[in-house]
Structure formats: C-alpha cells, structure tokens
C-alpha cells in the first residue's frame, strides 16, 4: 500500500495550529512512514495536487475571498476534510471583527491605530477583498471532522491522524476535546 496523501493549508489563522502539529515531536518520524505531505504552508508546494489527496487539513477561518477559494479548492481535492482549530471550526478569535462593519475594521486597523502615521487602507488587485463576516470552514464547504482547540493539543492532532491511519473515524472526547489550552 502506498502512502496516504495529506495536504494542509492555513487560512485566517495565527499559525498556532500548525505549530501544535509540529509539537507531535519525534512522532513525526513515524507519521511520515505512512504519510506523504503533498503540500502545506510550511513546505514548498502550497496547493493540494489536482489529482487529489486522501486527507485535507484546514486551519483558520474564512475572512477573505482568497481563503474562501482555498477552502473550496481543498474541499474539491480532498476525500476527507478536517477543520482544525477553533478558527476553522467556528471562526475563532478572528470573528472579533464580526461585530463591526468591514469598512470600520479596515479604517481602525490601517488609519486610526495610535501608532499609525499617514496610514492608508491597502488596495491592490492582488489583495483579496474581506468577506462581510469571518466564518468557520464548515459554513462554506462541508467538513468531515471537526478538531477544535486554540490550538488543538499535539496529542489531539496525533489522535485524529492515527485514528485515520488505522482506518477509523476519530471521535473526539475526553482529553482530546478542548476549546482552549491547558485545562481550558
């Protein structure tokens, strides 16, 4: 049997979920005996291959049109999609801006912050417009596995991946189901 193909991508996120994945430490050696990481934000290739992967992992919420596109691309190319971390599960801390109109958020962020001098709101055709509200991945594409946590612990991530490698659908409960870190 060939290796299982996994692709990851981060959307509106702090990268903490990918850091937490790296916290599986030496288990990563065992992991790569069974898995081929086709693409990820921390390797050269950024997009999942067109021929598809077995498992797609998305971290971060959907906050702009590029992220929406990335989520759709991953969904199309992955047999099984994992929303990893609170932002991917329900928008997480990024949803703080949902209480304000987008224009106000941009004005506050780029012009009105106390440390800003002569600020301007960046505008370029390469810059993706913000969505009206930040949402979780599940609000824009169907998700197969939700792995909450800010970030999910390395053990929770390891549990989900190893269950999948064993051919089982992971069921999050007990120690591996946490919304925050360290006891929260």
């Amino acid at each position: 049997m060939g290796k299982i193909k996994v692709a990851t991508q981060w959307l509106e996120a702090c990268a903490g979920c990918h850091m937490s994945f790296l916290d599986i430490d030496e288990r990563i050696v065992e992991f790569f005996k069974h898995v081929e990481l086709t693409s990820s934000p921390i390797t050269d290739l950024k997009h999942p291959p067109e021929e598809g992967v077995d498992v797609g992992i998305l971290t971060g919420g959907i906050g702009n049109e590029d992220e929406l596109h990335e989520a759709q691309e991953m969904r199309e190319r992955a047999k099984l999609l994992i929303a990893m971390g609170d932002c991917a599960v329900f928008g997480g801390i990024c949803t703080m801006r949902n209480f304000f109109p987008t224009a106000e958020v941009l004005r506050r962020g780029y012009i009105e912050t106390e440390s800003t001098v002569d600020g301007q709101i960046p505008q370029h055709e390469d810059l993706a417009p913000l969505t009206d509200k930040v949402s979780g991945v599940g609000d824009v594409v169907p998700v197969d596995i939700y792995l909450p946590g800010c970030p999910p612990t390395a053990d929770a991530i390891w549990y989900v991946l190893t269950e999948l490698l064993e051919g089982r659908m992971p069921k999050l409960e007990g120690k591996v189901l946490k919304y925050g870190m360290d006891g929260g």
Partner: protein, 565 residues
C-alpha cells in the same frame, strides 16, 4: 414526607415524596447534567439540560422540576436524552459569545464542561453576532452579557438569597436580557454587591474583577475561615494562589448565613488601601522608627512597670487575644475596657439567633441599621418580609429598612408597634446601640414574646463580653495600651495617657500619636477563635502567612506578661 419507590435506569430507588426526580436520582448516585439548576436556589427548568424519559409521559421531562412519584419509571441517559442535551448546547453556543479561549472561566465553566461531556466539537447553527453590553459600572465585579445563557441563577440568587430583587429579565425570546432594576447600569442600580450572583453564575458572564484570570480551580487553594468584618460570623471559603488572595466565596449550608455574604465580607477587605504596619515601631527623637520586637517590648514593659495603666480593646481580634489582654491588665492592676459601645439590655424577652429572623412573622427594628452593618441580618429581614413577615421600624432618623417595612414610627410612637405586634406568632426585635429607653419601655408589654437580637457594633463583642470587657472612655493614666487590630479609629478618639502603646494592623491617627506600635495580623492571617452574635465559638484558619515581623496579639501579650512577672 413519605417514602416512595421508583425505578431509575432499571435500578430500584427509594426517595421521599416532595423530592424532584433530579434529587431522587442524585440520592441514588445518578448524576443528571444541569445548567440552570443550583442546589441553593429554587428550580426553574429553563435550560432543558436535565431532560429525562419518563415511562407513560409523551415528552421528555425536566428532572429538576418534575416531582418524583411512586411507581415512576425513568431513564436518565439514553440516546434521545443525550442528543437533546447536545442540541440544547448547540443552541446555547450559537446564541452569544461562548468562545472559551479568551474567557476567564475556561476550565471552570459549567457550560464548557457540559459541552465537553457531550462531545460538542462544533455547532451547526449560525451565530447572529449581536454585540451585547459589558457592564463594568460596579467596582467589584463585571457583567458580560455576551457570556450569559439566561439560566437566571443570578436572578434567583438576588431574589431568594439576598432578597434584594435587583435582577430580573426584560424582553422575551431571543431578545431576553438580564436586567438591573428598570434597565439601569448595575453601578446605578439597587444592587448591594453581596456577590451571591457572582458565586452562582455557571459561565463567564459574571466576572470577579480581582480573581479573573488569576488561576483556575485546579491551580488554587481553598481555606475555610470565619468572617471577622462583623459579629455575624459567616463562614468564608477563601481562595488563594501562591500567596495571593484571589477571592472570597460563601459556604452553602453553613451557619448562620447559609452561604450569603455581604460586600464587607466578600469584597471590601480585598481592596484594603490603608498602610500596613509590618514592623514594631518606637518613638525616637519624636519620630516613629522601626525597631526589633525585643527593643519594642522592652520599652513597653519598662513603661508599664509601676505605672497606672488603662487597656482599651477594639473587639476586632480573637477570643484568645482578648483573654490575654484582659489577663495582662488584671496582672498589672490596671483598668481594661472596650472601645466600642454595647447595645443596651432590655430586661425582658429571650435571646434570638440570627436565623430566627427568617421564621419570624413580626420583626421590629429599633436603633439599628442592619442594611449598613451586619448586613446579612438586614438581608434576612428582607427575606422574611418577602415571606410575609411584618417589618416595623422604630427610628428617629432615616433607616434603609423602612422601604420594605409595613410601618415606620418615631421612638415616641413605639407603643403603636407594640400594639401591632401583640397578636404575632413570633416577634423578633433587632436592635443595637441606638435603642432608646422609651422604646424599651414601650415594647415591654410584649414581654417574653419578644426574641431579641442585640447587634453588637464590635466585630467580636461576644468574645470581649466573655472576658468581662465593658465600654470605657480613655482616661488619664501613665500608660494606655490599645488593642486595635484592623479596626479603623475615629479621628475624635483622644487618648490622654502619657505613654501610648498601640497594637494595630494599619497606620492611623492613633498610631501617629503612639510611643510604641506593635504590628498585628490581618483577618486572613489569624488562627484562634471568635464568638459570633449567636454565641457560637468559631475557628479562624490562617489563609496566608503573616509578614515575618507581625506577631499575633495573644503571643505578644503573653510575652509582655512574662516580662512583667
């Protein structure tokens, strides 16, 4: 009460009639998940977490409100109940801001715990993202409506325990909000900051300004002690982490207050701003200077030898210290008394306990302001009034209890109250130092029908009484020995003695005049006992260690006694 038999999850269970299904299940060791239920409060049935299947009933029933009945067959944990509970949680999580990662309650939150127990890895309903208010207008705790699940525990605590009726609900359905009075900011409301709502809140909606983010339940230490802020003597559960005082909670099912505290016991002592005395001080060249205990006690002993002496105690310390104080004064042949006045004696009636207020049907308040001091007694009077007791206030000035009183009269009209109370089943007279002789005379016809609660204005007045300390004014002696502890002093207090020794926890106008100042521990550094208004001798536990150069009064007084022997 009679015994009933029911079946819970196939197990034969014996319960008492009058119990709810939740209580019957708990008695049989079956834990049904709850959110809006709290053992100290009435049952509400709002959250639907406790739904159970009952044979013969068409729909699921809330176990917290369903009376257990003979022959009932109940299933508490089925696929259906699990799914419904999870559904309820999904609705709650989708409604407001229940994002745990930046909430101070994360790890200790009942909503979060239930979500974990039910494997809630996401929810399906979209969030409306409506911005709710955060009300930080009160000094000690904050209300974040974004975290509120409308369980109404706070409303019930305010109504049933504090009997203050500040909190309520306004609007209906998804618009429902917890409200203070007629929707005013909490800081401008009738809230008395007893903090009972804070203690029962299951989520992070009510935030203690001091202890928030200070440590989760797994990180903190709980120490039980007795409140020393007044003579009621409520049990305290003091929460600390490392050497930091985080929070004070009430202790459910404890005497006399049953978990109810007041702002003086729960919050105010944690915000003390007076400057602490941490080392013995002696006057040198007109200035108070730090000294060793040996030097300070040597000076005091020298001053006391062969001198006339008056000892004056603020009864703000332990029974042990008061006894040692009285003992030393006897040894020296000096006079000893207390600084605080005492409530007069009636010459009739029988002594009452604080809890007697709760089942009185006629309460007379005279010469006392229990809503301002010894507040738990005031809240108990409110609670009794809610249950239908008649409250009569006899006062020649404004009294906050008048608002809820059936009648308020001046001292000269006290006879009206005596007449009104004549047919009552149980009369409790709550009074203090302000009770006037004409009122005592006017109420005399009630005689031994009166149970009286004499509110001692001192924190440990009963302890002082036990060692024979009676009120005294400062007189001219060679030496004045003043046992002050944490008690604030009136600026008007003039001590004419030639040499003044003050044993105190804080700097004050009195320590400024002193020749020697000896540092004392604070309430949470003490061991020993106090005697409460009910005459119960309650223990004090040292919650945190006192600073290195602070010694308990009883130890110091014994050392002095030894030096003078």
């Amino acid at each position: 009460m009679s015994e009933i038999h029911l079946k819970i999850n196939g197990q034969e269970v014996t319960a008492q009639s009058g119990q709810t299904v939740l209580e019957a299940a708990k008695g049989a060791g079956v834990e049904i998940p709850v959110l809006c239920h709290h053992p100290a409060l009435s049952n509400w049935g709002a959250c639907r977490m406790c739904v159970v299947e009952v044979e013969g009933m068409r729909t699921l029933q809330t176990a917290c409100t369903l009376p257990a009945a003979d022959g009932m067959v109940i299933k508490t944990h089925t696929e259906q109940t699990f799914n419904i509970r999870k559904f309820v949680l999904e609705l709650l999580f989708s409604e407001r801001n229940h994002y745990c990662m930046y909430c101070q309650m994360s790890g200790d939150c009942e909503l979060q715990a239930q979500a974990y127990n039910h494997g809630l890895d996401h929810w399906t309903y979209p969030r409306p993202y409506e911005k709710q208010e955060v009300d930080a207008t009160r000094k000690y705790f904050i209300m974040d409506h974004n975290r509120c699940i409308l369980c109404t525990r706070c409303v019930r605590a305010c109504t049933e325990i504090a009997a203050n009726h500040t909190l309520g609900l306004r609007n209906r359905g998804a618009e429902t909000m917890i409200s203070a009075d007629l929707n005013v900011p909490f800081g401008e409301s009738s809230c008395v900051e007893c903090g009972t709502c804070l203690q029962v809140c299951p989520t992070g909606a009510l935030i203690d300004a001091r202890s928030a983010y200070g440590g989760r339940e797994k990180d903190v230490t709980h120490t039980q002690t007795t409140c020393m802020q007044c003579s009621v003597g409520c049990d305290l559960d003091v929460v600390t982490r490392y050497k930091r005082l985080l929070r004070v909670d009430g202790v459910w099912d404890s005497e006399p207050s049953g978990g109810l505290l007041c702002v003086d016991g729960r919050f105010a002592p944690l915000y003390e701003t007076r400057k602490r005395v941490v080392k013995p001080l002696v006057r040198k060249d007109g200035k108070l200077t730090e000294a060793s205990w040996e030097e300070a006690l040597g000076l005091v002993a020298n001053a006391l030898k062969g001198s006339t002496c008056q000892g004056l105690a603020a009864c703000a310390t332990t029974n042990e210290a008061l006894a040692a104080f009285a003992g030393l004064m006897t040894q020296l042949g000096g006079q000893a008394g207390r600084l605080e006045p005492v409530a007069p004696t009636l010459g009739y009636g029988v002594p009452a306990k604080v809890a007697d207020v709760l089942d009185a049907d006629f309460i007379i308040v005279a010469g006392a302001q229990p809503l301002d001091y010894q507040r738990v007694v005031g809240y108990f009077i409110h609670r009794a009034a809610d249950q239908g007791a008649t409250v009569a206030v006899i006062s020649d000035s404004e009294n906050a209890l008048s608002k809820r009183a059936a009648l308020t009269v001046a001292s000269a009209q006290a006879g009206i109250v005596a007449k009104a109370a004549a047919d009552a089943r149980k009369i409790v007279l709550v009074y203090s130092v302000g009770l006037k002789p004409e009122v005592i005379a006017a109420l005399k016809p009630l005689g031994d029908k009166v149970s009286f609660l004499a509110l001692d204005p001192a924190r440990n007045g009963k302890g002082a009484e036990a060692v024979g300390l009676k009120p005294q004014s400062p007189v001219k002696t060679d030496v004045a020995y003043i046992l002050l502890g944490e008690q604030p002093v009136a600026d008007a207090l003039h001590v004419p003695a030639g040499f003044k020794v003050v044993q105190a926890a804080y700097h004050s106008t009195l320590t400024e005049q002193a020749d020697v100042v000896l540092p004392t521990p604070l309430w949470y550094e003490r061991t020993g006992h106090v005697t409460t208004l009910d005459g119960v001798i309650k223990p004090l536990q040292a919650v945190l260690p006192a600073p290195a150069d602070v010694r308990d009064e009883s130890v110091v007084l014994e050392q002095l006694a030894a030096l003078l022997r």
